[in-house]
Amino acid sequence: MNKYSNSTSAAFKKAAFLWYGISKTEIPTTKNRLKSYRKAIFLVTILFLLGFTPNYGDTIVTGSIGEPRTLVPILASDSSSGTICSLIFNGLVKYDKDLNLTGDLAEKWEVSQDGLDITFYLRKGVLWHDGAPFTSKDVEFTYKSLIDPNVRTPYGGDFQMVKSLKVIDDYTLKVFYKEPFSPGLASWGMNIMPAHLLEKEDLNATKFARNPIGTGPYKFKLWKTGERVELVSNHDYFEGRPCIDGYIYRVIPDTATLFLELRAQAVDYTSLTPIQYRRQTETEFFKKNFQRFNFPSFGYTYMGYNLKDPKFKNVDVRRAINYAVNKEEIIKGVLLGLGRISTGPFIPESWAYNKDVLPLEYDPGKAKELLKNAGWSDSDGDGILEKDGIKFSFTVITNQGNDERKMTLEIIQRRLREVGIEVKIKIIEWSAFVSEFIDKRRFEAVLLGWGLSLDPDMYDIWHSSKTREGEFNFIGYSNKEVDRLLLEGRRTFNQEERKRIYHRIHEILYEDEPCLFLFVPDALPVLHNRFKGVEVAPSGIGYNFIKWFVPRSEQRYTR
């Protein structure tokens, strides 16, 4: 529930649909047509009027296993804090339902010819929840906090590329970059904080963290530690008053309990696991009371090789592993079919994803052949391949607490055993996993997932310079063409050109096989049936959250 758009209201869409229905069924004489038009116009007017007295009211109760940490948006690094901040605050830009950048607090923006500066024109008349006007001072303040070495923000990176920021007037500002940096535009989706309240505060320890004031569709009401956060709708929101009056974020740390609360209808909105989606919610009760959705999530799971390891130096060996692993089977077995094969590191629904890159078929015969040609053979007859007296056996590590990853590994283990490769599995607690094994490159192979940001820039993950301790190219991938393309992709703002660049990167990555791309799991949100106006788009369902409504007769919580 992160993004909103100012799309037409649900009621209006319904009206348009009715119009279409009527004019089609009537006999097309002029008179009749006129009559039908009149009728349609009448209906549209009625619906329009209905649309203008929207069904305000009710409260949505969401259930989540994590508790937010801080509501200072530039410090919030966990997803719970992010979810709540996105309702209270706005950025200058945001992604619309089709994953294109659009204005939020900025009405529009201009990128200079040389790509070195961006001018933002801010919306006028936007108010903070305490009534103070929003101006470019707030943007300047947020930027200065992001680059302040004494602020514990993890998000400074993108803003280090900024040379300077100049406030032109209250509603115009200009950002100068050291070099053209197209991902920088999306980075202005960072939530803007109020200068007048925070200028004199220490952001690391401010009371604002538990009593935030923003510009967003919801205002903060209360936070009961370990229990819930409550928000109320902002009647003066610049895109219009949200239809749902209240938002309650309940913390329920146990997924089984969360599911029981959902079944008792004490929680309206949460996400399901594949097994809950396929088995436990396939009941009359759930069909009657809940609506379920599935669409690709913004992330993929992969098995990465330590490319410094001699076993994985040969691309044919890596390709053989791809042939030997049945991706369909993993999706069926682990995700119960709720996912799709991934071939590259981009969001499947975004413009950057190259749909022409096809996944390799499951073909153990080909795998064996490739391995044989690469010099691996089973000389001692124990079923495991050897080369120069060394067995083809490696350990894959993954983090504790993610059953999907564990099950995926078990399937891979079995399939690779069939072509003569022995796989051992090691599961390690998260923090130790990151600091002792990933950061220090102490692994042969690793099973992990990457969450994807909506901008396709992947410099930090794939560029050959990003292989130092703690950096994100921990598999040690290096390809001159990819390095060059990654830089080019950052330097141009032209989407067509970027598309060409990222499609090519996608192709190369699948040929090079620095890691085995496995799958993109589906997001599986479930929502109580009384909420209407929800539609799935490439960005998910949250984009028009402020337009969701509950018909008056079905409202449950009154305030």
Binding site: D78, S79, P154, A209, K224, G226, S431, A432, S453
Partner: protein
């Protein structure tokens, strides 16, 4: 007596210092750092940013310096600031303590009220059907996985029959309730957690009670009492029970730290914002100040519990003299 207590307290202080040194070293040496939080495995969060945050937390200083700084604050009873949300550790602990304390107290009272009679009864009628039945009953409670029992109860009582709320400690409308309704609401939320936690604890107390009672019943003075012709009731409840309760006092003393420790599994399942969850979350996030705070308070309470048990021992058993 006064001198004894004084000497003990000096000893305990030294012990506490030792405990803090060991726990501080262990949690800092354990792999992982506070900057590795799950969400920070994010390509937008650079290594430089992580290093900078570690520096702002003071984690780049040598361990002994960090410890001395911690100790200086601790001497002023200041446990520092949580890494996770920058709030004072003491505030975070005090916020979580009451609910854990309430549940644990209720459950201990319930355990004593039910467990002691079960144990005494079993001892008196050793080998009878009642004894065997109760043995099986308390061990079922002991062996039953908490999470499983809780979920089954929540499913039937909470979801299917709708008698009690499923999780949490208050209803969403709690703020609008009158005082009386508030008490009812909270009690309703507490019934299942208290029941589940008491059920699991029955075995301990009742078995201790049973064996200690059996032990006492075999003593000469009981035979003497019976030979004197005392009524069986007086023999059992005046002479035997008093002596048999001694070990239970020790156990009670040892359970003091448990009163604030809480349980992760149990608090997670019932969505109770208590100490168990606070501790677990801070360990997972390597939130050192909070971990230290909880551990030190636990250590202090354990030591005090021991002291209290020893003192009350002397109070109830004239044979023991404190020197």
């Amino acid at each position: 007596m006064g001198k004894y207590v004084f000497k003990r307290i000096i000893g305990l202080a030294a012990l506490l210092l030792g405990i803090t040194i060991i726990t501080f070293s262990v949690i800092h040496i354990a792999p992982g750092r506070p900057t590795d939080l799950e969400a920070q495995f994010n390509p937008k969060v650079s290594m430089e940013a992580r290093e900078r945050i570690a520096h702002l937390y003071g984690l780049d200083k040598p361990l002994h310096i960090q410890y001395i700084e911690w100790l200086k604050r601790f001497a002023r009873l200041d446990f520092g600031i949580s890494f996770m949300d920058s709030r004072p550790v003491m505030q975070k602990i005090l916020e979580r303590m009451p609910i854990t304390l309430t549940i644990e107290l209720f459950s201990i009272i319930l355990i004593l009220l039910i467990g002691i009679p079960i144990g005494v009864g079993s001892a008196v009628k050793e080998g009878s059907f009642y004894d065997r039945f109760m043995t099986v009953f308390v061990f079922i409670g002991f062996a039953m996985p908490t999470f499983w029992l809780s979920l089954i109860l929540m499913d039937f009582i909470g979801v299917r029959w709708g008698i009690l709320p499923i999780s949490g400690i208050k209803s969403l409308e709690f703020e609008k309730f009158g005082n009386f309704e508030k008490i009812i609401d909270m009690s309703k939320h507490l019934i299942l957690p208290v029941f589940v936690s008491a059920f699991g604890g029955l075995a301990g107390i009742s078995r201790y009670m049973r064996s200690s009672m059996l032990n006492v019943l075999k003593q000469d003075y009981i035979r003497t009492a019976r030979a004197k012709g005392l009524r069986e009731k007086d023999v059992l409840y005046k002479h035997a029970l008093k002596n048999a309760l001694l070990p239970v006092v020790t156990i009670l003393g040892l359970s003091v730290p448990g009163l604030i420790g809480g349980s992760v599994i149990f608090e997670s399942i019932f969505s109770i914002p208590g100490m168990g969850r606070l501790f677990y979350e801070s360990v997972m996030a390597r939130d050192y100040p909070v971990i230290m705070g909880v551990l030190v308070i636990g250590a202090v309470l354990t030591l005090l519990g021991n002291l209290l048990a020893d003192i009350s021992y002397a109070a109830v058993d004239p044979r023991i003299k404190l020197e």
